[in-house]
Symmetry: C2
Subunit: 350 residues, 2 copies
């Protein structure tokens, strides 16, 4: 069944053959008059799988020639083709999208005539940049059409990792309530509550800090949050001078330059009723519990990022892979002037 | 059993009591005349666990006061104390080290009089910097005494993660042998071997590339290595111009500024008989196989770093945790003028 390569499309003119190709896999776009127009991704795939011959100047093209010609006529052809053929081989009907995404994919067993689109797919080279602002715009577009957004990240060897991206609003049910401010003492980069009963009270009301024998050790971020909520006052050990919140933040920023960013995300998570602990072991800012961390596993890893966050895809990939390995969800918390938005990535096998 | 705080040590003067403390856990350093000198870490621990009273100006000190005084007299006291008490609670005899490490630890059940040191321990705040050069010097010192080096990394909440660090010389047994140079074509940031039999030959001899239908796709790093070994020649698809190795490297460096660093590590691993693939999915540079990647799992993740590599500890932690989760060893490959040295970290529970 021959098609003819004309510029950057392949035309099947024979009406019967055109209709066969279209009906068996929904390849191409029917033209008036019964012919079928295939784009180069579709034609390459049909050629590779031996279901089509492609002619150019009356000569039949080898697959390797067709690849060469397509790569020169179509921007980003390799990445697109790697993803297209993978999704086809997984048994999906895949249509190149002329709009904002690369492909639309129908549910397994579904077709353009029987089903709604299941996924929008973006084919992404791992070497490209992840741009939080641009990405959230694409998410919003995808959400407006109520479809899932699937990311196909192609590594330098052509292997694909699929991620589902979605926005998330995590909540918990822990309301810490400490009646009167509790006194604590600042040592280097840690804060200790030295009186046993107050230490216990603070720990039991919101699971702040960590017991170190009879004293309670608070991290700087816990301390800064609790100071902002008027639940803790801090003094220096020798001179017994009161430490101000801004003084504590200045001190913390010398150790962690992004301390204020983290503090914003920390506070937002706490106000959502979640219990927040350091995510150091996982290379993320926080691990987050919905309830008592002594009785439950952390549900989320959260990484706070600035509004205009940009990263290389391998960084995102590493975070998702790590969270997946420890059965947690990774959330990127985008901290802006007015709020914190959470973006969730999950690795999937479509 | 009272001891007296004198400057930054605690002295137990009663001979019988001194000998009891020393013999039951090997706390302190016997002085001539039968008295015992404890350093503040030891004294704090004995006070916290109710095995000792500490006097200062004839007044008995509360644990919280002893902590305050110790923190002001001893540099980095909190981190040291957190690690000291953890190792003691795990049942080890731990002695503060006056030399280059923080502690020496005896085998479980062993004591300074019956056993050799098992570990040297470094107590490290997660906020401190990992410095490859300095670290390798400490490794060398530890190796000279034939002891294991244990790192105790303390996070901002006082939780400890232990790592064993060692040098490693990974080897495999794959010798790729391609008789004559094979022609390949450069597309954007990938290279294709379009002739089926040559593609097959290159794949079978060293597992280079990835099959994409009938063609073989090589990554830029594979191509650069194979060009350097005179096993591949590369041409452009349209003009059929020959691409030079330096031209390819220049092109690759626009996409990956650290391409030359990676290429050095890639080449070293290949020359060790290992099969090297991208580690993109794991956020590391390479995943490395000892033999046929279709039949074996990758044994290592390797991350190439410059000679003077410095990183925050959470970065190291993330890499180790991730590798641990997928049952691989993480190696940091330190690329210098003359060679590539591999540093391995393993998470352990001492």
């Amino acid at each position: 069944m021959p098609g003819e390569l004309v510029e950057d499309v392949v035309i099947v003119r024979d009406e019967k053959e055109a209709s066969q190709v279209y009906n068996k896999g929904f390849y191409g776009y029917p033209l008036s008059g019964g012919a079928l127009e295939l784009d180069v991704l579709e034609a390459c795939y049909l050629l590779e799988t031996g279901r089509m011959q492609v002619l150019r100047n009356q000569r039949s093209l080898a697959f390797s020639d067709m690849i060469k010609l397509s790569a020169t006529s179509c921007d980003g052809f390799e990445i697109l083709y790697i993803v297209y053929r993978d999704l086809r081989q997984r048994g999906y009907v895949v249509k190149p999208d002329s709009g904002e995404f690369d492909f639309r994919v129908f549910p397994r067993g579904g077709t353009p005539t029987t089903s709604q689109t299941k996924y929008w797919v973006l084919a992404v080279a791992e070497r490209s940049l992840f741009d939080m602002t641009g990405f959230l715009e694409e998410m919003a577009r995808s959400e407006r059409t109520r479809k899932e957004l699937l990311l196909a990240i192609v590594d330098e060897e052509g292997d694909i990792t699929y991620y589902k991206a979605s926005r998330s609003g995590p909540t918990g049910h822990t309301v810490g309530d400490v009646a009167s401010p509790i006194e604590a003492v600042l040592f280097e980069d840690r804060v200790l509550v030295l009186e046993e009963d107050r230490a216990e009270r603070l720990y039991r009301n919101g699971f702040y800090g960590k017991k170190l024998g009879k004293v309670l050790q608070l991290s700087l971020i816990e301390t800064a949050y609790l100071m902002g909520e008027d639940k803790v006052t801090v003094r220096t050990p020798g001179s017994n001078r009161k430490v101000s919140l801004s003084g504590l933040i200045r001190k913390a920023m010398k150790i962690q330059p992004d301390f204020e960013l983290r503090l914003r995300a920390y506070g937002d998570l706490r106000k959502r009723g979640l219990i927040v602990k350091t995510g150091f072991k996982y290379g993320a800012h926080f691990r987050v519990y919905e309830a008592d961390p002594e009785k439950h596993h952390a549900k989320y890893l959260v990484h706070a990022v600035p509004e205009d966050y940009k990263a290389m895809w391998p960084e995102i990939s590493r975070a998702v892979r790590l969270a997946h390995g420890v059965k947690k969800d990774i959330l990127f918390g985008r901290v802006s002037e007015k709020d914190v938005q959470y973006l969730r990535f999950r690795r999937v096998r479509p």
